[in-house]
């Protein structure tokens, strides 16, 4: 499964200009599948960076606006888009000029694969 999925994520990476990587991790930042180009910033791939989203989305869900689904962080040269698919977290990292809407539209294309991956995370002690 992992090879097909990685190939598919790489195919999605090629479709969006300026997208550097797609990571599917658990909420602690432990990767299940990842497709990364050499332009991706290594610091942002660390689990302690990715795991902050788990806490942030929990707190943001308490603001009275319903459940938080996506957090978009714009930096000077990168943008980080993280989606709440708990127990999974999808992280996209792209350049600051990358089309954010195009990245968000990838959600529906990754969604069919998440059920099996979520079952793996839930079953793993």
């Amino acid at each position: 499964m992992v090879d097909e999925l990685r190939k598919y994520l790489n195919h999605l990476l090629e479709k969006v200009n300026g997208l550097h990587c797609i990571l599917i991790t658990d909420r602690d930042g432990v990767p299940l599948v990842r497709a990364v180009t050499e332009r991706a910033p290594q610091l942002a791939l660390r689990p302690n960076f990715i795991s902050t989203f788990g806490m942030a989305t929990d707190q943001a869900s308490k603001l009275g606006l319903g459940r938080n689904k996506t957090i978009i962080s714009m930096y000077s040269s990168y943008q980080v888009i993280q989606m709440n698919k708990l127990p999974l977290v999808i992280t996209f990292i792209g350049s600051d000029s990358c089309n954010t809407g195009h990245i968000l539209s990838l959600e529906s294309q990754i969604e069919p694969f998440l059920k099996d991956l979520a079952a793996i995370v839930v079953d793993t002690p």
Binding site: E4, E14, G66, Q109
Partner: protein, 183 residues
């Protein structure tokens, strides 16, 4: 004596509540304020019942009825727990990092499980306007433009098609509005 104990339990619970709330950004997600709770479904009451009817009358303290202390305690604990989960206290979260050993162990477990999982379903077939890869797109765009003959041919064809469409007429044969059982 018993009432003193109850008072103490109440005070301790309210103190804990107060300390949890103080100094924090606090947001109460009332169920009635939650937009997701307002969805009408099969469990929604058809007739709205005034809130006063929901209120349970305050029980009159009497010697014959024993105090329901465990229930009160559990209810207070539940309120305390709900309040604690609703408090937004970013400062108390602190840095969180998985231990290196646990991290590598989990990576190993995930890798093994993902590799053993069945192949994912094939991606959806390409749509009518399929996206072309970057290289192919660049090659297509860098090709020379259309020749003038082709442009003329396209222009004339479109003009002829437009003229043909503009000559389409509806022939009137019968009434558009038909009276239906009107005396």
């Amino acid at each position: 004596m018993q009432s003193d104990e109850e008072d103490n339990a109440l005070h301790s619970c309210f103190d804990s509540l107060k300390s949890a709330v103080m100094g924090c950004c606090y947001s109460i997600c009332h169920k009635e304020n939650d937009p997701q709770e307002n969805i009408i479904n099969e469990r929604t009451h058809l007739l709205e019942v005034p809130e006063q009817q929901h209120e349970i009358p305050v029980p009159v303290a009497s010697a014959s009825t024993p105090p329901r202390k465990p229930d009160e305690q559990s209810a207070l604990n539940r309120i305390l727990h709900e309040t604690a989960t609703n408090v937004i206290d970013v400062g108390a979260l602190g840095p969180y990092a998985l231990e290196a050993g646990a991290y590598s162990e989990r990576v190993r477990a995930y890798t093994a499980r993902v590799a053993a999982a069945p192949a994912p379903p094939a991606p959806a077939p390409p749509r009518l306007l399929a996206d072309v890869p970057h290289g192919e797109r660049t090659a297509l765009l860098s090709k020379p433009a259309l020749s003038n003959d082709d442009k003329d041919f396209i222009t004339n064809s479109v003009k002829k098609a437009a003229a043909a469409i503009s000559e389409l007429r509806v022939e009137h044969h019968e009434d558009l509005v038909v009276p239906f059982r009107v005396p």
